[in-house]
Amino acid sequence: MTDGPLFLATLRLADDALVLGHRLSEWCGHAPVLEEDLALANLGLDLIGQARSLYSYAGTVEGRGRDEDQLAYLRREGEYRNLLLVEQPNGDFAVTMTRQLLFSAFMHPFHVAMKASSDPTLAAIAAKAEKEMAYHVRHTGEWLIRLGDGTAESHRRAQAALDELWPYSGELFEVDEAMRAAIEAGFVPDPEAIRPRFDETIDHVLAEATLNKPKVGAFQAGGRAGRHSEHMGFLLADLQYMQRTYPNATW
């Protein structure tokens, strides 16, 4: 594998957006109320839109003729480079909201910083995504505050969701060799520079929500290297079904 850091950095961002966007799309028709059904579909479409731009650009950077569809639908599980966090199942509503908050509390400042990328295309994608992620932070934060500071049952579930997903948040800050090269080339920001903003958002929401930040010794990681949780295969089976059954189908 001789893929350059620009390709890998772009592909990782694309995989995060696609997989989480797909998870949100699973709520379509199942959300607790109609208003939230539309809201979750909106958030999902934001992410899938970002994934399209990123895959399309990754295909150009790679230069092997793969387009966005081939990158999204025709790779094997081990070739996906998304965070373990985004592939975790929807669970109950509190799990979905917590997963989305952890991701967007990181990705919003990440895109703000990536507007200054040395790569003009990534900078342009970040400029669009920044506004979308700002709304994701607000929407999911407000929900988590109401769930945490709501009834005894909603508080219990929100805390359980946070306890379950928190161990996956460390991977947001993981920097391996490929990532280090991308940071040094100025393509993407250093996650460490994002950490204060992430902590600020999370601490604010958790305080309002009367939830406790879990104490975790070790974090779960592996997604960036293509080692996924047992949920990923099922997700891809669903996501890739159409393209694999009817190759090159268009509509």
Partner: protein, 95 residues
């Protein structure tokens, strides 16, 4: 959680600067900030607006349909309130 305890809100959207907010529909939400977000996701998905108002439906006092005759019908016979019989020069456009 059920929706039966969630209050109903009326949503008003201003499509452009200089226009008035127009009623576009209603929705259920637990409180005003969540109603605003639900309004954004429900009613502005195709670039409909620049500004949203949400108003608790309870805060609206509406006329009784039974009062229709008393309230509205008398205006129909007052043609001087409907000056459609003046010649308006083409250059004036819509008045």
């Amino acid at each position: 959680m059920t929706t039966q305890n969630w209050p109903l809100w009326e949503v008003f959207i201003r499509s452009r600067n200089g226009m008035a907010h127009r009623h576009v529909g209603s929705l259920h939400a637990v409180d005003a900030p969540m109603a605003l977000q639900a309004a954004r996701d429900t009613y502005t998905r195709r670039g409909e607006g620049l500004s949203i108002w949400v108003v608790p439906s309870q805060a609206i006092t509406a006329s009784d349909p039974a009062d229709k005759d008393m309230l509205f019908e008398p205006t129909a016979s007052k043609i001087y309130r409907h000056p459609t019989f003046y010649e308006v020069p083409d250059d004036v456009g819509h008045m």
